[in-house]
């Protein structure tokens, strides 16, 4: 329960911090940290416009997307406290329930019959397929290292000891940050601030959403960031006591948000045709983690 509450709180300010970092980096004052939340609250109170081409799928898809993110948050633990639901193999559920949201996002984009949204849908489907193996191999390696198969047990048994395990933690953090960037359609895969529909991925898929539905999609995006932030936090806190762990949670989330803001300020988006290669490269980084774990366990003779 604790993790759920913390992730929701972190979700409140995460995107705000990214935007603020970006504006400071580019020499602007920028909006307040809570501006994204204010936007969403405003959207929740607005009416909507639906396209004539759309069907019931378009109406329910944002709801299912939002629900899938909530269900994913439910299984994430926080250090010594379990998630709301915890079972062996819950990370499989985590990945697949997020896939449900993606499925509906994609078909709702197809529902509008727009060529731009179809393009975004096609890209999203392809890239998320490439990102998933990295996650599964990462968690698989951690499962091998600790001998457990649920988020809670893996993270609470994760002790940082030797040099190799430091390297593994660093690599794991890198992989999780990159997965978070891909899943949330940020740089260097996708640029949320681009103004040309042809170069968008996520933004172009939700061109036709408005009002309450749009608010749900945005909120789900904020929560998703905090969700992956929480996974990264879990890599480090292990058996730390709550009075230190909770401040650490917010510090790491803050650091991650600033880092993402900085990455977005100082890198350019990849060429669309290079994205796939980049994401596949991520899988090989997670394979590196796997071989690191084999080294630690002395499986190489």
């Amino acid at each position: 329960m604790l993790s759920f509450a913390l992730i929701v709180v972190a979700g409140f300010f995460f995107t705000g911090i990214i935007i603020r970092t970006k504006s400071i980096a580019s020499g602007r004052k920028g909006p307040g940290i809570f501006q994204p939340i204010k936007d969403v609250i405003r959207l929740f109170r607005k009416g909507s416009v639906y396209s004539r081409t759309t069907s019931v799928i378009f109406q329910i898809a944002p709801t299912i997307y939002f629900a899938s993110v909530i269900m994913a948050i439910v299984v994430v633990p926080f250090g010594q406290s379990k998630g709301v639901i915890s079972f062996n193999g819950d990370f499989i559920f985590f990945a697949y329930v997020l896939a449900l949201g993606k499925f509906f996002n994609i078909i709702s984009a197809m529902d509008t019959g727009s060529s731009f949204e179809g393009m975004g849908a096609s890209r999203e489907a392809l890239y998320s397929m490439f990102a998933e193996p990295a996650f599964f191999i990462l968690i698989g390696s951690l499962a091998l290292l600790t001998g457990f198969t649920s988020f809670y047990e893996i993270f609470s048994a994760l002790h940082v000891g030797s040099y190799i395990s430091y390297a593994i933690t660093v690599l794991a953090t890198f992989v999780l940050v990159m997965i978070a960037m891909i899943e949330n359609s940020r740089m260097p895969i996708d640029d949320p601030k681009t103004h040309l529909e042809l170069t968008m991925i996520h933004e172009v898929m939700i061109l036709d959403n408005s009002g309450f539905d749009f608010g749900l999609i945005l909120t789900a995006g904020y929560l998703k960031f905090a969700l992956y932030g929480a996974l990264i936090v879990n890599l480090f806190i292990g058996i730390v006591r709550y009075e230190y762990a909770i401040p650490m949670f917010f510090i790491i989330q803050f650091a991650m948000a600033v880092a993402i803001g900085l990455i977005e300020s100082f890198t350019a988006r990849f060429r669309m045709s290079h994205n796939a290669q980049f994401i596949v490269a991520l899988t090989s980084v997670s394979l590196l983690i796997f071989f690191g774990v084999l080294l630690i366990l002395g499986k190489f003779i």
């Binding site: 081409t53 069907s55 899938s68 439910v74 727009s114 731009f116 849908a121 397929m129 198969t149």
Partner: protein
């Protein structure tokens, strides 16, 4: 005993009576027979799942020897799946065939073959005499061939049907070889003697025997590279037959492999790794080719190959667990395989039935011609969506459960493995995840293009929803799909006995499953329910928030362009364009292009068809080489009657003379030896 005779007599009686009835009576008699057969066998199947084993030994004849009929938990599980799919498929089929009223004779023949196919499939599960098994197998192969070529006036149908016919007989060759080999050594066709034979013979010999059976059964199951008949036969058959073929007919191959794994005692570890390699390749190759298909049924056929691969991964984990003596691992593997067999039978038959409904409404299966069907056929769209989500292995439906069990097996194995197996495991996980992602790409394409957007081409007839009674069996299947997703533990407890049989531990109880990896199934059920409740809750909230707001309707935002046409929509080809570029090395396309030329261009067109690279190398090239070789003897085939008579005489003379010459020849050799 009486049940066996009833079981045998019912189809024979029905076949004799079926032609005598009018249309309504025929439909009634037909469903009656299917249901009687289903009730008889299900009654025993349910008891076998509780742990009972039935054994009847029929006297048989001089040639076959005694015919043992044994129903154990494994046959029980498969018989229940067969019955479920045949009942729903039969009811759907009666409505489906109403569109072909004028083809009275074909329909009667079709009904007869349908009944024969049902009965032969059921009996294959229990017959344990090699020779009789082959006879039943042949009946199954022939009757399914006849059901496939229902629309035999179309040339493509006949061609695919004959392709299927030949390949299923190649399978029979391998099975016959296997059974005769055992019979030569033991003098009996009883399956129990295979156990005795393989326990006493060398490891290499039983391994070759297993591979022989494996090839035979894989040809039916559709493992790569034995899959090439599948993408032709499924689209050619009427929808209910495609559903049944994909749902249960190819599963009889899986049943055969599992049965052989129980009776052939050999090095399970080697077998496990062998099946694992084939299964991983099948699942990846199947889904990769599925994505680029534009014929909806062909797409689904390639997905069958993928799912057979996933089942194969489960079987191989089970075999490796057996080889390692890790009972829990083998239980997880076999449970995943058996559960996925049921799940695939459910969602794949549902997908084929909905594809059939689409075909009847629009008269096309080319996804590029469809679009926006959800507005005209909302119920079909909903059913297709449920099955599509289930086949991607996404909660809250059943596909997730079986994939979860297989994943659990892999992650359980990871903690008990050495270096080489660890690398194998990690690449299997990689493959399984890729398969999931690719399936998502494929089914968002299929659903998005067929049902969403606006129609891509004008359809000449009126598109309307199928009648309720045609959709009724589909609702039943969809209910099962959701039910397994919500109450997975119930189905796992049904699997205790079959899995115990396969993992060679008859005392396996539900307690084994209470082990760490599978106690998760209860919370998964809760999480799935939680997901549904959450969705409903948010939908209410949304309605509440929107109740006072203005809801406008406009045309889709065209980025400033105000006259969009339906031709500007994304097509299936463009949706997977970046994918097919990325995997270009594995895929293969035939392209036809006529470029627009000149100042006043007349016409131009572009066509692309995907083709199967493995089919090209394994089927097409050898056949071409064979034809080339045989072509050299074409001069014999000159259309001259006199010559043909001469050939006949030469043949007869040779047949008579060879034994005579043989003795002379032997004497000649003897003479040389003496020298």
């Amino acid at each position: 005993m009486i049940f066996i005779y009833t079981f045998l007599a019912t189809p024979i009686l029905a076949i004799l009576l079926l032609p005598l009835f009018k249309e309504k009576g025929r439909g009634f008699l037909f469903s009656l027979v299917v249901i009687i057969q289903a009730i008889i066998t299900s009654y025993f199947s349910i008891q076998t799942l509780m742990g009972q084993v039935f054994e009847v030994i029929l006297p048989g004849s001089l040639i076959t020897g005694p015919i043992p009929i044994r129903a154990d938990a494994l046959s029980g599980w498969f018989m229940l799946i067969i019955n479920l799919v045949f009942i729903t498929g039969g009811i759907y089929g009666i409505h489906y065939l109403k569109a072909y009223k004028e083809k009275r004779n074909s329909i009667i023949l079709h009904g007869i073959s349908f009944i024969l196919m049902h009965s032969s499939l059921l009996s294959l599960c229990v017959i344990q005499n090699g020779l009789v098994f082959l006879i039943a197998w042949e009946i199954m192969a022939l009757s399914s061939f006849i059901t496939v070529i229902f629309e035999s006036e179309k040339q493509a149908v006949i061609k695919s049907g004959i392709n299927y016919f030949i390949q299923s007989h190649v399978a029979i060759v391998f099975l016959t070889l296997g059974f005769i080999w055992v019979a030569l050594n033991t003098g009996s066709y009883d399956f129990k003697d295979i156990i005795v034979f393989t326990e006493n013979s060398g490891n290499a010999e039983s391994m070759v025997l297993f591979i022989c059976f494996f090839i035979g059964f894989s040809l039916k199951a559709g493992f790569v590279p034995f899959h090439t008949w599948l993408p032709y036969a499924h689209p050619a058959a009427p929808a209910h037959i495609s559903g049944i073929m994909s749902g249960v007919l190819i599963k009889i191959g899986i049943f055969g492999i599992l049965r052989m794994a129980t009776v052939i005692k050999t090095d399970y570890l080697t077998i496990g790794y062998m099946i694992l390699a084939i299964a991983v390749v099948s699942s990846l190759y199947g889904v990769m080719l599925a994505i680029v298909q534009h014929n909806l049924k062909r797409l689904l056929a390639y997905h069958s190959i993928e799912n057979i691969g996933i089942i194969g991964i489960g079987i191989s984990i089970g075999c490796i667990g057996l080889g390692n003596g890790n009972i829990f691992l083998s239980a997880l593997g076999f449970a995943g395989a058996l559960l996925h067999t049921l799940n695939h039978a459910l969602f794949k038959s549902l997908l084929f039935y909905t594809a059939g409904t689409i075909y009847q409404a629009t008269h096309t299966l080319n996804v590029e011609h469809l679009g926006g069907l959800i507005k005209k056929m909302p119920k079909t769209a909903l059913l297709f969506l449920v099955a599509a989500i289930a086949i991607c292995g996404i909660p809250p439906f059943n596909g997730f459960i079986s994939e979860f069990v297989i994943y659990s097996g892999l992650y359980h194995w990871i903690n008990n493995a050495l270096l080489v197996s660890l690398v194998i495991i990690i690449f299997t996980i990689l493959a399984l995840v890729m398969v999931g992602g690719l399936a998502l790409l494929c089914f968002t394409k299929a659903f998005g293009i067929v049902f969403l957007g606006s129609p891509r081409q004008k359809i000449n007839n009126e598109v309307k929803e199928a009648p309720f009674f045609q959709l009724l069996p589909l609702y039943i299947i969809a209910a099962f799909i959701l039910f397994i997703g919500l109450f997975p533990k119930l189905f796992l407890s049904l699997l205790v006995k079959p899995v115990g049989l396969l993992s060679g531990n008859e005392f396996l109880t539900i307690l084994t499953f209470e082990g760490k990896a599978v106690q998760a199934l209860q919370p998964i059920g809760w999480a799935a329910m939680g997901l549904i409740v959450l969705v409903v809750l948010i939908l209410f909230l949304r309605r509440f928030a929107q109740r006072k707001q203005n809801i406008g309707v406009e045309s889709t935002w065209g980025c400033g362009y105000i006259a969009p046409t339906s031709k500007q929509q994304y097509t299936a080809g463009s949706f997977v364009k970046s994918y097919s570029k990325f995997f270009g090395g594995i895929l293969m396309f035939h392209q036809k292009e006529k470029e627009i030329q000149g100042i006043f261009p007349s016409e131009g067109h572009y066509e692309s068809h995907s083709y199967d690279k493995i089919e090209k190398w394994i089927i097409d090239k050898p056949i071409a080489a064979y034809k080339n070789f045989m072509g050299k003897f074409l001069f014999l085939h000159n259309g001259n009657l006199q010559n043909y008579i001469l050939y006949g005489i030469v043949f007869i003379v040779l047949v008579i003379c060879i034994p005579l010459f043989y003795e002379k020849f032997v004497a000649f050799i003897q003479f040389f030896k003496q020298l």
